[in-house]
């Protein structure tokens, strides 16, 4: 029987792989950035599933701290990618005029 934490972990792995595919193959920058975020969510889900220690035990706090750090990094990286993408579009529009 599949335990619920295993289901979460496998979903995390599937999300990671799906996101990776999109990040490599999607033609548009926005699509790639979103795919990277999906992929990141997959890794975070894997970490959270690994922290689960059954209904009775307390979950392991360390992976939660790692996920929080990872989310901060992911938000900053996404913001940077979007800002650079916007700047690039401005430059390209200027070049077209």
């Amino acid at each position: 029987m599949l335990s619920s934490s295993l289901i979460f972990a496998l979903t995390g792995v599937a999300l990671f792989a799906l996101g990776l595919r999109g990040a490599l193959l999607h033609p548009a920058l926005l699509g790639r950035v979103l795919a990277i975020n999906v992929s990141g969510a997959g890794v975070f889900m894997l970490l959270v599933a690994l922290a689960y220690r059954g209904p009775a035990g307390n979950p392991d706090p360390l992976p939660h701290a790692l996920v929080l750090t990872g989310i901060v990094v992911a938000v900053s990286a996404t913001a940077l990618a979007l800002a650079m993408g916007r700047r690039l579009r401005q430059l390209e529009e200027q070049a077209d005029d």
């Binding site: 990671f16 996101g19 790639r32 970490l47 900053s76 990286a77 990618a81 650079m84």
Partner: protein, 484 residues
């Protein structure tokens, strides 16, 4: 706070914060901060030479809950190289940026990049390595895009997306390791690791992530446009240090931490990819029309040489032969760091004076910029691997190890790579010494031409003639064997 381990990370970080709140004094702050960091790195190497290796538990929290900083001879040597290159390029960058707004944005990022590099070199914790990889990647991307047009921005975006994919793969590997073994501290993890599917998968994920960042063929394609379009001091740091830091991490994982997990066939795979990188990178460098693009492709090739060592090192048993080969690998990495940063700085001078960096139109450079041309030539000597450079000693050692293991293809790769390197260096020099007025001499302050010259002198004379102590230092026991 009297521990030498914290200062090489803390000092550039403090300088970065000061540069952020006090932008007008940023250049002076950066130079002072880097001078202090240089002193701290020398002190750290001194202590490592005395004691073998050092450990520091940050904030007094023991590893397990806290994060440890560690330094052995390998980390301390790369740290000193990084600080020397950082100092010289900081000096150079001081006069490079003329636009005030750009200058003010440049300094905090620059110092943050150096902070991240040093934190990566000294980190003893897998998750902390992920954080430093991201810090390094993000600050490097912004610097690469700085002040450039759409071309530089496009290259930087590609660099960013691939870098993020690489870090995520690394993080997935870290998650698997934590799930299986329950520790992130590398010293605590080392005795637990077993050759089993989880460890193999984790190592594969982490390695692919790092290989993207260290631009091993065929994952190198993001590097040439990003490095060639960045401002010259940034290119120098990216090619000499950022790629090298990723390589250092791979070295740590494969030869140190995951040693029982690594198989000889996997090491051969890395070696053959390295061989392909040597040939392909050198060939593209020979075909490049622009000087900075040539330098960037030469980085792809030089990184390839470093990977040639992997199968030899895993095949050799522990002992003096392996130590000698390992010393040669470190020497080659250090030589490339100095030579390539010097080459990029000199290329930046040429580009500024000539208004372009098209190799075929650089006639007259030798007459108008003799010092810079000399620096280009010396960098070339180190990259080809001619005596008395450190590259010569290292490649000679690589060859004799390959002969000792009767692995003949490496001789062919080394020979072809060196001939191609000689061809692209001499093509550049023949144009530079030719007639023409490619580079007009307009301004020359000591900070323009001297940093490049000092860096290439480190690569050729200092590392070539004074390399012997390197082996003594490196044969001390590695950091992971010392319990905190």
């Amino acid at each position: 706070m009297t521990d030498p381990l914290v200062w090489p990370v803390l000092l550039p970080l403090i300088a970065a914060l000061f540069a952020l709140v006090w932008p007008r004094r940023a250049a002076a702050i950066a130079v002072t901060g880097m001078a202090a960091t240089l002193a701290a790195s020398v002190w750290l190497l001194w202590r490592v030479a005395e004691q073998g290796s050092l450990v520091h538990a940050l904030g007094g929290w023991q590893p397990g809950l806290g994060i440890a900083l560690r330094a052995d001879a390998l980390a301390a040597l790369l740290l000193l190289m990084s600080t020397l290159v950082g100092f010289a390029t900081t000096w150079y960058a001081n006069g490079y940026f003329t636009d005030t707004a750009l200058r003010e944005r440049f300094w905090p990022l620059w110092l943050l990049l150096i902070t991240a590099l040093h934190a990566l070199l000294l980190s003893g914790d897998l998750f902390n390595l992920y954080v430093t990889l991201e810090l390094m990647g993000l600050s490097a991307v912004v610097l690469a895009a700085l002040g450039g047009g759409a071309e530089a921005l496009r290259a930087a975006l590609r660099y960013l997306v691939l870098g993020l994919i690489g870090s995520l793969a690394f993080l997935a590997g870290v998650a698997l390791i934590y799930g299986r073994y329950g520790v992130l501290d590398m010293a605590a993890l080392a005795p637990l690791l077993q050759p089993e599917p989880t460890a193999w998968t984790a190592l594969a994920l982490m390695s692919v992530g790092i290989l993207i960042k260290s631009a091993l063929f065929p994952l190198h394609f993001w590097l040439p446009p990003a490095h060639a379009n960045a401002p010259a001091p940034v290119s120098a740091l990216l090619s000499a240090l950022v790629v090298k830091a990723a390589f250092y991490l791979l070295l740590r994982l494969w030869l140190d931490l995951f040693q029982p997990v690594v198989t000889q066939n996997a090491a051969w795979l890395l070696g053959w990819l390295g061989a392909a990188a040597v040939i392909w990178g050198s060939w593209q460098a020979l075909r490049a029309e622009r000087l900075k693009l040539m330098a960037a492709y030469s980085t792809v090739a030089q990184i390839g040489y470093l990977f040639l060592f992997f199968p030899l090192l895993t095949a050799l048993p522990e002992g003096p032969a392996r130590d000698t080969a390992f010393g040669a690998l470190v020497l080659l990495a250090l030589t490339h760091g100095f030579a390539k940063s010097g080459l990029f700085l000199a290329a930046g001078v040429v580009q500024r004076q000539a208004g372009h960096d098209r190799i075929a139109e650089l006639g007259g450079t030798a007459r108008n910029l003799p010092l810079t041309t000399f620096a280009l030539a010396l960098a070339g000597v180190a990259l080809i691997g001619l005596p008395p450079s450190g590259g010569f000693l290292a490649k000679w050692q690589l060859m004799s190890t390959a002969v000792q293991l009767q692995f003949w293809p490496w001789l062919l790769v080394l020979g072809t790579g060196s001939l191609l390197a000689a061809a692209y260096v001499f093509r550049l020099l023949s144009h530079a010494f030719g007639a023409g007025d490619g580079a007009q001499r307009k301004l020359t302050s000591p900070g323009t031409e001297l940093p490049a010259l000092l860096l290439v002198l480190c690569a050729t004379l200092v590392l070539g003639l004074g390399a012997a102590p390197l082996w003594d230092l490196l044969s001390a026991p590695p950091a992971l064997e010392v319990s905190p």
